[in-house]
Symmetry: C2
Subunit: 639 residues, 2 copies
């Protein structure tokens, strides 16, 4: 087994080293001529000058009569002036000004008689006339180089007789996925097969950046195949992305292939995720231009970050499209965040405005967790020489969404139930544009998030062992001074999810000793419930195989059972149903919403309470199954 | 002659009346299924749920050995544990976790020996394993309805086995230009012919809004033709834009055609420009859906504003794409602005950050001036019941560009010379992303703009009658306390531009009495020069035909002469050259740049001074002709 030892070059150094190498080799864009009507959002390759003036003739700007203004001089209410039919011409807006005339009088100001008209005020020379070139003169520069073409600019081009325009060619970027484990898009992958979806993400990013993406077939993991694919792409494209294996493992031939086809400038950057990135270049056989070649790590989040922070600048050079600076905002970080001194770390975060301040909550750092990129509102960057941040620190966050969108979002943090997603969907359908950001951290996580002012509300289902009562005892303990409201949501059935047909014949908790169990994380309501129930029944958790195997959602537990990697797990009916599992009801529990008192009167929370009480919610929950609706949306008194 | 009398409905009332009428008739979007890989920037028509989990199997997250963690319990530096070859399996990242194992130990922590491996620390159960559904579980809602699909969302769809997705169909919007005066795109229009460029602007706007635009041929101005075109478009499209004549003149058949094909909801809105807009609707013959029909005034700026403020909301309903709220910023208005109480007025403005504050400068209000839409950074809205604003008032401006872009722009206001456009272009090519906003208000306008703090710098060429000296006497008069610097730019030749071949044999100013003259506006350096020269030569301006006909730029004067609507005008050589005119040199003048002292050390101004001193500038001016470069970029001492 041999390993590629990577360097650990600081981010800025890697970037400038790479750009310098590309520029020395003459990195440049191509130019093409397109019709101006089709040029929306393209970038001018050079300054564009008007071919004709607009207006291109002296045009009447009103319906009325054109005349020689000197004939009207002295006209007033007391001394109106008559003008003979021979001395004026009726004109419409847009008509050319007839020869010898220098003014147009609006039709409303003209009194028409037999053989003449009467005017009660004098015309000012060149009044109501759009003079040649008033808007644009032939020869004027309409826009300079590197201008992104807008609808108004298209109008100006066409009005100025510029029917075609030289724009920067959209660079063609080849994407080569590599890896024996990869399979083309499918909805029925086998264990060990990884769906090749990264190229879908990267080609969409390239499209957003004004490039054209070309997706090559998956190349198998051997050097000659990868080299051949790379050579072909370098001939055909303006830049190439090679998606390498996800680590420096034994099957990673990307870097040697790149070194053989071109030149590796940087291999290994002090960033996390993304460390194994490769920044390389090659020349096509014509030697006509340098082709940037990027080696991306296999994990999607790592790949996206490397694209954004190392390839974007290259693409700017190739598209002439200078993007806005990355937008940063100062926000408060909700919890302690540690980071290695070895890397510049990028950590996805949700942002939410709760209690008047914007708070960042770090998300799962896993480089493979693509859903975290869907959820992320911003990215916290921890520089290489910084160990992290303390809770409450003010930090700069790179914004992935507009502040307005973030500030208006309803932040839900707590126990997960699919009903929360259904509420979010109903809300969007009934009030388009509304945003819900929800994180699943379990019931205790929700209580703490609301205490810390990170969320407007959260779902909780917490059984108090002493009283057997749900939720309220926890509120009394954690919010002795109030500040929160408890909104009734649903009663739901917790039960044992088992494999379809219940092959192990599990009937109750005591049968779990015969099964491979999969548990929920500590602090979740479901974990508290199973801990309570096993204690009640005198079952030692140590006798249950897999009791310490933890998942974060009901559906993740159900997925493990459905895939055969576990036999049983405690969860809700709708999750079992979604995966076609058996379900043995164990306990009826109260799932409620804990709401910040201050948020209670907000538009979004009021809307949510309306939805809870509405028919659509009840219809959808019936479809999910396993819920009883008593008085959803009603306040529960607790203090 | 008959007129369509219009109503004057307030803006908000017109908008809500129209939306209500459309909603009552069931305005709705259509849905289509597309491949997820092609779904970038489309809008989900419904909530999207995961089909498979990701990971869809328990996957090894590291290269190393998979084993049963219980075998490693108790391992430490002092008490390493040996594990037999039969009890573990070598795995790579992404491999399925072999049956019976519950942990992966990183290869770096494994000491390999003959027949066994040695570990110096215990493995934690489920360590280095990506469990089924860790990212997304089958059945999870990936995104709710009406979500704009991003690259990350495409990744999540593909990873979750969602290969196709229901999105909202891009509505097809038909555009029908009408008018006898309109001609298809050309660069050689005849007088009286108006190039039909509006449909190019509107189809680009629709593309930006997520619609597909269909441009119909120009319909002649008679009711049956327009009706037939409208009926066809209503059958074929989801919405129709009829571009009416620009006024309520005798040839305007749009409203009657709309009333005949469908129903006119509003005709005439209390906005300026845009008053004659028509908001209508129709049904296709299948009666399957209501088709919004918009009648746009013929002037491009009016049309764009009506599109933005009345059709955009309709398009939001048809695309499911809720746009961000229009962004407003508080800025200071640089001069008094009056507006009619009859209308809600939209006034284009440039915005610039000068001396620490953002200032709005209103642009030409002409509804036909498409270049003003290219230049505009923002739009000042003056509500119907407001008479206008006083200089220095803080007003809310609708932003057309980002604040960052505006704040970084170099604002040039003063006398126009094409060299300023060339400087802007050089600047963009040498420092991509840099912005120059220049307005042509003449030399005196430039001095006043800089005094008012509206501009960083401006071109001036002002002859002092008493001393015969250029510029400096004006600075002493207007800036007795300093605060500005004078930067030498060029010497340029002012002369009489005459028709090609000089058919009138004009040799000097005294010949102007035989010609139709076209002048520059008062306050421009060129006007001051001609006033001075005629006075010197005892020529009475009243004897010069057209002395009070005013244009705002050298090239507009040249354009008038080239088009034969005037015989002569004072201007610079490059303008005469661009239009192939004759040129009789009259005077050598000094064209300098007046710069705010505070701006002098800014990056942009320093860059500009570099350009003035550079070779590219000198090369381009040689090409334009008529300039002498002495010490461009040098400071001129004046106080």
């Amino acid at each position: 087994m041999s390993y590629q030892y990577l360097t650990n070059i600081p981010m800025e150094e890697a970037r400038s080293k790479y750009l310098k190498a590309l520029q020395e080799r003459g990195l440049n864009y191509k130019v093409e001529k397109v019709f101006s009507v089709d040029a929306l959002d393209r970038v001018t390759a050079e300054a564009v000058y008007a071919k004709i003036s607009t207006p291109h003739y002296n045009a009447c700007a009103m319906d009325g009569v054109a005349l020689d203004s000197t004939l009207t001089f002295g006209a007033s209410e007391r001394a109106p002036v008559q003008i003979k039919d021979a001395d004026f011409t009726w004109v419409n807006t847009g008509d050319p000004l007839p020869e010898g005339y220098d003014a147009v009088v609006m039709v409303e100001d003209v009194i028409q008689d037999e053989g003449h008209i009467t005017l009660y005020s004098a015309a000012v020379p060149w009044e109501n006339i759009r003079q040649i070139g008033e808007d644009i003169s032939a020869g004027d520069m309409v826009v300079p180089s590197y201008t992104v073409i807008t609808p108004a600019i298209i109008g100006a081009f066409l009005a100025a007789g510029v029917l075609q325009v030289n724009v920067i060619t959209r660079p063609l970027v080849g994407i080569i996925p590599t890896g024996d484990e990869l399979v083309p898009l499918t909805d029925e992958p086998q264990p060990g097969q990884i769906i090749e979806f990264n190229s879908g993400i990267f080609s969409a990013m390239l499209t957003q950046w004004g490039c054209a993406a070309k997706r090559y077939p998956i190349a198998k993991d051997n050097q000659s195949t990868i080299e051949a694919a790379l050579r072909k792409a370098v001939e055909e494209c303006d830049a190439v992305i090679l998606m390498a294996g996800s680590s420096a493992g034994r099957k990673d031939f990307a870097v040697s292939a790149m070194g053989s086809v071109g030149e590796v400038i940087v291999h290994g950057i002090a960033i996390k995720p993304g460390k194994p990135a490769i920044l390389a270049l090659a020349e096509n056989s014509a030697g006509s231009s340098v082709v940037p070649v990027l080696g991306l790590p296999g994990y999607p989040v790592a790949g996206m970050l490397v694209m954004e922070h190392f390839f974007h600048l290259v693409m700017e050079r190739l598209t002439g499209r200078i993007s806005k600076n990355i937008e940063f905002r100062e926000v408060e970080i909700s919890r302690r965040l540690t980071s290695s001194l070895k890397y510049h770390e990028f950590i996805r975060a949700t942002l939410g405005k709760v209690g008047g301040k914007v708070v960042a909550v770090p998300l799962n750092r896993g480089a493979g967790v693509v859903s975290s990129m869907v959820k992320a509102d911003g990215i916290i960057q921890v520089p290489q020489n910084v160990e992290g941040y303390e809770q409450g620190d003010k930090i700069q966050v790179q914004m992935l969404r507009g502040l307005e969108e973030i500030e208006s979002a309803l932040v839900i943090t707590g126990s997960h139930d699919p009903l929360l997603d259904e509420i979010a969907d109903i809300m969007r359908r009934e009030s388009p544009g509304s945003q819900v950001a929800s994180s699943h951290v379990g019931s205790m996580g929700g209580i703490l998030a609301i205490k810390r002012g990170e969320a407007h509300l959260g779902g909780i289902h917490l059984l108090d062992e002493a009283s057997g009562e749900y939720n309220i005892p926890y509120l009394r303990r954690f919010f002795p001074d109030g500040g929160v409201a408890l909104v009734e949501c649903v009663q739901r059935t917790q039960g044992l999810m088992v494999r379809a047909g219940n092959p192990l014949g599990i009937k109750s908790l005591s049968d779990l000793v015969r099964a491979r169990y999969v548990n929920r994380q500590k602090g979740s309501g479901t974990r508290i419930l199973i801990d309570y129930l096993t204690k009640q029944k005198n079952i030692d958790p140590a006798t249950i195989n897999g009791y310490n195997r933890e998942e974060y959602t009901h559906s993740a537990v159900a997925a493990s059972i459905a895939a055969g990697s576990a036999d049983a797990g405690l969860g809700i009916f709708s999750a079992a149903k979604a995966f076609g599992l058996g379900f043995i009801p164990i306990y009826e529990e109260q799932y409620d919403l804990l709401v910040q008192q201050d948020a209670l009167s907000s538009v979004m929370v009021e809307k949510l309470l309306d939805i809870l009480r509405g028919e659509e919610f009840s219809r959808r929950l019936k479809q999910l199954g396993g819920y009883t609706l008593d008085h959803p949306g009603e306040m529960r008194l607790w203090n």
